[in-house]
Amino acid sequence: MQKVFDAMLGWVDARFPLIKTWEEHLSKYYAPKNFNFWYYFGSLALLVLVIQIVSGIFLTMHYKPDTQLAFASVEYIMRDVPWGWLMRYLHSTGASFFFITVYLHMLRGIMYGSYRGPRELLWLIGMAIFIALMAEAFMGYLLPWGNMSYWGAQVIISLFSAIPFGIGDILSEWIRGDFVVSDATLNRFFAFHVIAVPLALCGLVFVHIVALHKVGSNNPDGIEIKKNKGPDGLPVDGIPFHPYYTVKDIVGVAGFLIIFAAVIFFAPELGGWFLEHDNFTPANILQTPPEIVPLWYFTPYYSLLRATTEEMVTKGLLPLTIVMTILTVISVRNVLAKMAAVGIGSVVVVCLFIFEAKLWGVILMGLGVGLFAFLPWLDMSPVKSIRYKGWMFKTALIIFCIDFLVLGWLGTQPASGPNVILAQIGTILYLLFFFLMPWYTTFDKTKPVPERVTQ
């Protein structure tokens, strides 16, 4: 038996780098031995990706991308397809858990400075994954053709029409394939949701892992284990990924699945947070839901959008731009850089007067997502990990996390009364976390980083 197996393995290995790949990426891939709780979320995101693809395939077997049939086909899956309800709940709950794992995965990166060199490209690939994931979730949400699906898509797509010079209207029409969200929109969203974006996601995740294995994992101490090698040429603080981290990640998977199953079987709607109540009525062009609210993972950015009123532009963004420009001019030494800062600052100020608030709302929403991509260059601290950073970074990060949650909460509430001003303050704080980072990471008092990783 063993002989037959060896012979088969030999046959394959002569034609494909099987053993080499196995060793390079698992059995002889050295990872720091001090990974903690936060390091589960990468492998968990991978698990959720697989869950989404598998449950998605089963849903596609019965779903009908047609405005007349879509809603009923989903209810058909829920009732008449054996285990269809389980597939649907796996998929709808999986979408939310995808964002939970990815947000925690990103928070880990921010805490331990995983985006810093040599991992900038790894972080940027992660950003591409994040944007693809948002596109995937947004288009998937239209498919059940519920009333919130319809109006959510209507509102978000029409945001593009805020782009000036007539480009916006053309663009949003091009995305919809019609003047309103319609059958054409549903069909193309289906195509993107079931094949185009998942294909891109899988490719990006593959590249993500390749990039990770090229530079090696960071760790909670933010120390490069490759700098400290033993006589055998192996990092003294490293252990082979397999079997050590494979067995450890299985524990994480089990813990994750317990929570995941609890939601699927006991609270798949999660009180309207994972499946919205208004989406249990079919799309109705004549009846807007009382409040058009995207799902929770988009609400922080939705808050940024809604906070940007005319007043916010003049009393919030304008002073912010001026202060940031002055601060930059004072801080940089290079004369060219000073001039560039003045130039960019004045262009933004002029634009703030020219363009309407709606456009700035869309821009802020984009910044809310996109600013994460600049972290590798905004963080100027001499140390990577939060363990050795000072109080300024810690305070900034805590404020940012609370701010993110508050904005997320406000995004689900009516934008009126005190909510508006609260969201506007939240928006400024959100921007300041990024804009001021070069300063507070420079002036922060850091602690000395040890030679070897700590347990």
Binding site: K33, A72, E75, Y76, M78, R79, D80, W85, L86, I239, P243, Y244, V247, K248, I250, V251, V253, A254, G255, L257, I258, A261, A262, I264, F265, F266, P268, E269, L270, G271, G272, W273, H277, D278, F280, T281, P290, W409, T412
Partner: protein, 243 residues
């Protein structure tokens, strides 16, 4: 530590409860219990006899309901099949939607998923909050659905209610309760019980999988806990030599 965890949990759950609420009028709590087969059967009878004349439950099949609620195929065919020919048919409304729209001004919406879109409390309160309003075209109005186009179809059971109206400090009128103006065939308690059965059935109707998913979930989680313990022990064993 435990207290801290509970507090954190409570804070996390707070937004859930708030998000689930909404709407202006206070809704009455209702005891939903899908294990109560008798209640579900009674609710089904009321629903099929009184509601399907105008409303559809167009995503649900008669025989599925029969199987789930323990009603035999023959009984379904004899007693419950009004607007359909085969027990495998979907629950369509007796009255064509176009006619209904002509008569009521609004087509009666499909009721399959109302328990998920409006919630059980809303349905329970709605069915008990019709009152006489001579100014309305149908002669009826409703506390939770102002100017509703639906007449009080169970008026013979409940009788006729008149609202008790009070002005608040801003001079706005609120309905604070009801008094029976004309008695129906049921006492208040009997009517409430019937509406609870009906609501219970509509919760089932909105999600038949609810009958099984709790039980399956319990086994799945039990298995996963055992799996996690085993995985943890395996991990411990492997990690013995990592220092």
């Amino acid at each position: 530590m435990k207290k801290k965890l509970i507090t954190i949990f409570a804070i996390l759950l707070f937004p859930l409860t708030v998000a689930a609420g909404g709407g202006g009028v206070a809704l009455d709590p209702v005891n939903i219990n899908l294990n109560d087969k008798e209640s579900l059967q009674k609710g089904a009878r009321t629903f099929v006899n009184y509601c399907l004349s105008c409303h559809s439950a167009g995503y649900m099949r008669y025989n599925r309901m029969g199987q789930d609620l323990g009603i035999s195929e023959e009984l379904v065919a004899e007693n419950l099949l009004f607007a359909a020919e085969k027990t495998g048919d979907l629950m369509k409304a007796v009255m064509p939607a176009a006619d209904a729209k002509k008569w009521f001004g609004t087509a009666p919406p499909d009721l399959t998923l109302t328990a998920r879109s409006r919630g059980p409390k809303w349905i329970y309160t709605y069915m008990r909050s019709f009152y006489r309003d001579e100014s309305a075209p149908s002669g009826w109005n409703n506390k939770v659905f102002a100017h509703v186009a639906m007449p009080h179809v169970l008026y013979e059971w409940q009788g006729e209610q008149r609202p008790i109206i009070e002005k608040d400090s801003h001079g706005v009128e609120h309905i604070t309760g009801f008094e029976i103006a004309k008695a129906g065939t049921m006492t208040e308690k009997e009517y409430n019980e019937a509406m609870r059965d009906l609501t219970n059935f509509m919760v089932y109707l909105a999600e038949p999988a609810k009958l099984v998913r709790y039980k399956i979930g319990l086994y799945v989680i039990l298995f996963l806990i055992i799996f996690m313990v085993a995985a943890y022990m395996l991990k411990k064993e492997y990690w013995k030599d990592v220092h």
